[in-house]
């Protein structure tokens, strides 16, 4: 799997005409430190960028046990983990209070039971968003959402499973993410739930969500607008940020009247 910048790296390499091989990539990138500095934040390679002397965890669970399993019993307790309880809970898929290999096993449902409730809320929100897209005015009543629900509920059993969402997505003329390949499935991450058929959204869930969102209790929702990205011709939002190694901050607008700027946003994963 290519990392997020992988294609860009290739492009840069070719554009710069200075092809590098992984062997030539500088090693020891865990930022050299003297003893006074905090330990480097671990970033471990599993692919071709890995150097010979580097730890070689091949899975997310192995990575986490190397960081947090202080007593080396192959399990990570909440105390050992020591970071945010929500993050621990998200990873503890079977909700047994300890991170084990099973939590990260292939085919393990992506969500724990309590997270599944949260996901139902999100499915409901998705349903509302789709209802809104098909609506002419800027408000949404419960009856419109219920109509959308029946649209989605292909087999009419009163429950929408993720599979029905995905199928409906394809027929609705609602645009998938721009540039998505044909047949793009917006819910690939929920295959385990789909296979088990247990991730359902019922009309009751939908009504409950509606009530929870209808803060002023007037029976109408005004869905929040998604923030929009700046468009061609608009002034680029200004910012001042610093380089990773420290040093002088850079202000975007300082290039105005001087030279054009290309911004390449991304992360390592």
């Amino acid at each position: 799997m290519r990392s997020r910048f992988g294609w860009l790296a290739l492009w840069i390499t070719l554009a710069a005409g200075c092809r590098t091989t992984p062997d030539e990539t500088p090693s020891g990138t865990q930022v050299a430190t003297d003893s006074n500095e905090p330990a480097p934040f671990p970033v471990w390679e599993t692919g071709k960028n890995r150097s010979a002397d580097e730890p070689t965890p091949e899975s997310r669970f192995e990575f986490l046990t190397r960081l947090y399993d202080a007593d080396e019993d192959g399990r990570v307790t909440a105390e050992e983990y020591g970071r945010e309880p929500e993050t621990f809970a998200r990873m503890d898929r079977d909700e047994d209070g300890v991170l084990t290999a099973e939590d990260f096993a292939e085919g393990q449902p992506l969500l724990s039971p309590s997270q599944r409730n949260e996901r139902r809320r999100r499915l409901a929100a998705e349903l509302f968003a789709k209802s809104f897209q098909q609506d002419d005015d800027l408000e949404l009543g419960l009856e419109e959402v219920e109509a959308s629900f029946r649209d989605y509920d292909a087999d009419g059993d009163g429950a929408i499973v993720v599979r029905e969402f995905a199928r409906h997505f394809a027929t609705l003329n609602i645009e998938p993410p721009r540039g998505a390949p044909p047949g793009f499935n917006p819910f690939p991450l929920f295959r385990a739930e789909i296979a088990r058929g247990d991730d359902q959204l019922t009309m009751e869930n939908v009504r409950a969500y509606f009530v929870s969102q209808d803060k002023d209790g007037d029976g109408r929702l005004v869905p929040a607008r998604r923030a929009e990205a700046p468009k061609v011709g608009e002034l680029a939002p200004d910012f001042t940020l610093s380089p990773p190694k420290g040093g002088d901050p850079v202000t975007l607008s300082s290039f105005r009247g001087d030279r054009p700027v290309a911004l390449i946003f991304g992360s390592y994963t």
């Binding site: 799997m1 492009w11 599993t46 990205a229 680029a236 940020l241 054009p260 390449i264 991304g266």
Partner: protein
């Protein structure tokens, strides 16, 4: 012509809602501080041999990421008047370096 990589929130950190890693992809947790973010950014720049370009690190409030709706990745070109000349679609599907390259070539040849 000035290039900047802007390092933003990790897309598929080990402890994120959409985790990846292993099988060839790097393993990293979502940075919790600006210092951690700077470290991951530096590893990223070095390992992917992006260092011919300078990098900037978005702060933990994700303000610049928000302003540009940049997550998980995105490309922009800004003209000398400070206005956007090219605005790519959000990644991964909309992340198209060739489009940026063409936009840069067209912009520079017009001047």
């Amino acid at each position: 012509m000035q290039f900047y990589v802007v390092y933003i929130r990790e897309a598929h950190a080990v402890d994120s809602p959409a985790p990846m890693g292993g099988d060839g992809a790097p393993l990293v947790e979502d940075p919790r501080s600006l210092h951690e973010r700077q470290e991951v950014a530096q590893v990223c720049m070095t390992r992917l041999a992006l260092e011919p370009m300078p990098a900037l690190v978005d702060e933990l409030d994700d303000a610049v990421n928000q302003a540009y709706q940049a997550w998980p990745d995105r490309l922009y070109l800004i003209g000398t008047d400070g206005r956007l000349v090219y605005a790519g679609e959000p990644g991964p599907f909309g992340f198209k370096p060739k489009q940026l390259e063409d936009a840069i070539a067209a912009y520079l040849s017009e001047r």
